[in-house]
Amino acid sequence: MEFIRIITRKTLFLAIFLLFSFMTPGVDAADKENCLMCHKYRQIGRIDEKGRKRSYFVNENIYANSVHRNVPCRDCHTYIDKLPHDPVTQEVNCANECHIKPPFSNDNFSHKKIIDVYNRSVHGTQEDDSPELKAAKPYCKYCHLNPIYTRVEEQRIAFEETLGRCLNCHERKGVTQAYKHITHRLRSKTSRSPQEIVQLCSKNCHADLVLMKKLKVSNESMEAVKTYNESIHGKAVGLGSQKAADCVSCHATSSIHDIYKKDEPHATVNKANLVKTCKQCHENVTERFAQIDVHSEIGPHEKPVLYSVNVILGFAFYGSVFGLIGLAMLESYGRRKDGIKMQILHGTSWRGKSKRDKSK
């Protein structure tokens, strides 16, 4: 009897649940399981055992515009198996396969391919890495927040007009995202600005010399951010250029994650590949051109000739600016001493006669 009662109660619950889940209008496909019922509130969170503030908030409107908008929560958060769930101790594995088949493919989507590329690069953790090195190497989330679709401003054909043609056959919502998905890859190597890329690589990592020293990187790598910022590329990017080379432009191919040390044969900055790498921007690149030092450390010992020329040019520049100011000031001082007064109006800056001028 007890058994039958439980069964009927459960079936009843299930029936009601199914009824409700079909009745609720427009529930997002990614959230069939209604995780956002709780996680859509921005105050959901707690102070963890280490005293850190942990927010568990997911803004539903941002999520709905992110590239993962169709991925059900548990495709990534696979460890959630009941509701309410236990405190989460596991990390999401970005190489998971999700229950989504991309167009033109029979397999479920996964980031595995690019993660393999990444794991082979300098940033992938290797077995013989020291613990500090393992901890310092960036993981997917370090660089990638859940990306939002961005609209690339089309110069030759207006965004709306091109999209308008797609809308002849396709539905607006889906095709707008698909259009953005493709077009932002047609423009430049990454969808981030050179400034963002430089910031990403420098901040908390390559520009953190204390950390770099601890990881025992080569002298050249120690100086890399500084020498880049002093180079013509770095200066142009620092001044806002959207075309000058950032870190990724030279250090990776279009798969972006394949960054290698320069002595590795696949490295884009390996001597053998330099011409090709420079050719991405510079026409008519020769072997000789490719020899130009991009991360140039101009010190008295490394490059005495360049260093001296640099110093001389510096003297010439400051000498001419401050020399002129100095001369003007000396002249003014002399005139004042001679009793000539300064004035602003009346057509001349000076009034009165020099005391030394005895002729009048």
């Binding site: 209008p25 427009g26 997002d28 859509k40 102070i47 709905a64 989330k141 927040l145 908390n204 002729s359």
Partner: protein, 276 residues
Amino acid sequence: MPGEPKRLEHPRSVYIIGFIFKIITLSVLIAVIYQITFSPHGPAVLVPIKEKIEESQKSAILEEVRQQEEYEKHRHFHHVVEYPQLPENMRPVCYICHSDYPHSKNKKVRAMLNMHTQFFVCETCHIQEQPGISVTYKWYNPLNETPKGPFYGTEYDPETGNLIEVEDQFSKISPFYRTGDKFKSAIQIQDSALAQDYVKVRDKLTPEQRDNVKKKFHVHIKAKGHECKVCHSRNGILDFRNLGFSANRTIDLEQLNIKGMVTKYESFYIPNLFSE
């Protein structure tokens, strides 16, 4: 000088041209000085001094907080969004001692209870009922005496199924003592000066003294807040329709148990949520 030509007043345009040239000269000068002192593209002669000053003003605690925020941004993945905050002197006094996430003891509901503080003042759950005084619940906004809504969470957007986005970021449901037609706020003393004073001196107090001060802030506060079913049930203490919740939203909140959770997962163990 003999034969010196007479200087005449120049036409006005000459002064304008002169002024423009002075501005240009001045900007070049400023640029050159910046180039020498702080610019990363120059010799940066003053940068070491600036760094030294920053170093001396560095606080280990601030540094750690900043690092944690940075870490949280990357850890979170789903975008850490900034929301407008009440000015410090208007925040309810409870937050001064209890932080933004006051619940931590009961593992099963702590995050969920903290979630409710987005739309409830603490007293909504923690108020000690007193015999003979009836309590009603209304929206309360510290910046606006008669908040009109629409309030967060009261309606679904028919197109997306998400909750509608609202302008009012500060209104929360709050208890009021009711006598006849008069409503009196049941929010405890809002004396943040007292609380801030407490935070400053608490290390100097003995445990008994500390308890005494603490009592000042917890006059009609009970240790355990309302249980879930006090609100999430047909005859809960909140009149959802009167508070502005739409009909389907009211049903969802009253029947929370059926809709989302119990049926889907066998082991549901929020204490007393749906025990009947």
